[in-house]
């Protein structure tokens, strides 16, 4: 949760700001490399079932969470490794979870799609499309009047779910401190969102008079600025806000994605807007960070994840006889 409180409130000196952006950049790199690692381990049969990677969408999770306090609450999706790592979940504990090990954040019970880490403010990663919206709305109900906020991440596809509409209306009429963050990556699975979504996404929250903005979700700086505004609105007691972050996933929807739905050249065009490339450029050009310093971040993360990988693969599997208790005792 390093730097989160410092970052959120009050203004920063320039040195602080560079340090901050370097840290946020590091988180984006961590997420990207983590996803690459998961993919490799999946292909080796070490990560099981299915996984939904967020490569290409890192700036949204990192930008939004960068303005949060430790007592804020976040609900992510089945495409949630980025949400979790951005919040500060130990990559070791996340990887171990995906490897099905006892040392995983949920002891191997949850797996990729259902990660929970309350210590870092992550209410959960929700496998039901739209479920994260409900979770954050409820958190907003609990946080009314505290100055803390709840954040929901969800995709463009989720904006056609009953959860989306019912909860946005609920949050607005109850004036709840919730920030709804739509990661519009252009597709719900293999279907372009334009084919299944009437009108624009942002028109929907606007119809409910929820302050809303559509923005470049691949630019950390842009996301962070918008998120700060939305979060401040919520902290002030002025109710929910909506952010539509335009982004793109560089990988398949899940491990079994045929991929044939992408129009020719689309992926390449988005590659030019890779949030890591954008971040590196801004760090070097605007913040005057030496290329070598950026490069060393990439290397450090690589070293870190290599260790994580080895340790994870050596970790024990949970013992089945440790049987589950259906209920918490009164």
């Amino acid at each position: 949760m390093l730097g989160r409180t410092a970052v959120t409130r009050g203004s920063l000196s320039v040195a602080d700001e560079v340090g901050l952006y370097l840290e946020l950049y590091r988180r984006m790199v961590l997420i990207r490399q983590f996803e690459d690692l998961v993919n490799a381990l999946f292909l080796q049969g070490q990560v099981h079932g299915t996984t939904h990677l967020c490569s290409g969408q890192e700036a949204v999770a990192v930008g939004v969470t960068s303005v949060l306090d430790p007592a804020d609450r976040v609900a992510g999706t089945y495409r949630g490794h980025g949400h979790a790592l951005a919040l500060g979940l130990d990559p070791q504990r996340l990887l171990d979870e995906l490897l099905g090990r006892e040392t995983g954040i949920c002891a191997g019970r949850a797996g990729s799609m259902n990660v929970v880490d309350l210590e870092h403010g992550l209410m959960g990663c929700f496998g039901i499309v739209g479920g994260s919206i409900a979770a954050a709305t409820g958190a907003g109900l609990a946080l009314r009047g505290t100055g803390n906020v709840a954040v929901a991440f969800f995709g463009d596809g989720a904006t056609n779910q009953g959860y989306f509409f019912e909860c946005l209306n609920f949050a607005k009429v109850m004036n709840l401190p919730v920030v709804y963050v739509c990661e519009n990556n252009g597709y719900g699975e293999y279907t372009p969102f334009t084919a299944v979504t009437a009108g624009s996404i942002i028109a929907r929250p606007l119809a409910m008079e929820i302050p809303s903005q559509t923005l470049d979700g691949n630019d950390l700086w842009v996301v962070r600025a918008a998120a700060r505004q939305a979060v401040e609105t919520a902290r002030r007691g002025d109710g929910p806000s909506f952010i539509e972050a335009l982004t793109y996933r560089f990988v398949g929807h899940s491990r079994s994605d045929p991929g044939k739905y992408r129009p020719e050249g689309e992926l390449d065009r988005w590659r030019l807007k890779d949030p890591l490339a954008v971040g590196r450029r801004r760090l070097v050009e605007e913040h005057r960070v030496p290329e070598s310093e950026v490069e060393s971040i990439v290397e450090d993360v690589r070293t870190e994840l290599d260790r994580v990988r080895q340790k994870g693969l050596a970790a024990p599997f949970p013992k089945p006889d440790a049987s589950a208790r259906e209920f918490k005792d009164g």
């Binding site: 959960g124 609990a142 009429v173």
Partner: protein, 321 residues
Amino acid sequence: MAEIEFRRAIRDALDEELARDESVIFFGEDVAKAGGVFAVTPGLWEKYPDRVLDTPISELALAGAAFGSAVCGKRPVFEIMFGDFLPLTMDSLVNQSAKYWYISNEQASIPLVVRSAIGAGGRFGAIHSQTPISWFLGVPGLKIVCPATPADAKGLLKSAIRDPNPVLFLEHKRLYGLKGEVNGDLTPIGKGAVVREGDDITVVGAMKSVHDALAAAGKLVEHSVEAEVIDLRTLRPMDIDLVLESVAKTSRLVVVEEGPRTGGWAAEVVARVSEAALDQLDDIWRITTADAPIPYSPTLEDAFLPAPDVIVESILAHRRK
């Protein structure tokens, strides 16, 4: 001790728990200003205006809001006006609330209560009269509480609100006007009660069926049958030991369920008892409604329900066989 109505017992439980614990919140459609369409919750909003809330007609959002607020330390109680509307909430209850304790590896449990008015006999027709139990009975992690008396309505609702797990709390509409003594004790979740002793047959019921079973037991005396009547009070977890104890004595079990024959909680009772006590059993069966929607017309609805006479007839017929 003064007698109070079942609906009043529920109100009192809410009132006392709202007073006792700041983290309790209560919301639903028309529960606050109007005091509930069954006049169960009048006066609470006036006392706790920040914690008793009227909501939009958005059952799924209600369930989701309860879940999310429970993750964050609240003890939400929410009302789904008729049990028939519970399917709209089901994704959140089943896939969010009921699983959280397990999949989070016990990082947190979800102390929510969903109250709902259920049951037939009021001429409300097929979509305002159902007993929603079978839809939820197979959901691990969700408790199902079914009071039959004002005392248990209060005692169980207080227990449910204090319980760290999600609880489905069902209120039979035909019991709202029932009066009874209420001493204010907590009723433990998961414990049934023998409400009438007898040696000849064990009759298990819940909610309104307990009263029907008691009425039947009264009539059976004329036929020299002494029925032991058990009020299960909670269907999940189920106090099967109490039933087994009784069956050890009577060797005969009939389960009376207001709900469709197939897939109900009576099947679970019969299954558990058959598994555990096959040798001791001389007879075992269910009295339920037919596998059909609940009819509106009085003549049809009356014939549809397992009234005392139906129970008497069934028990006598089984004795004859």
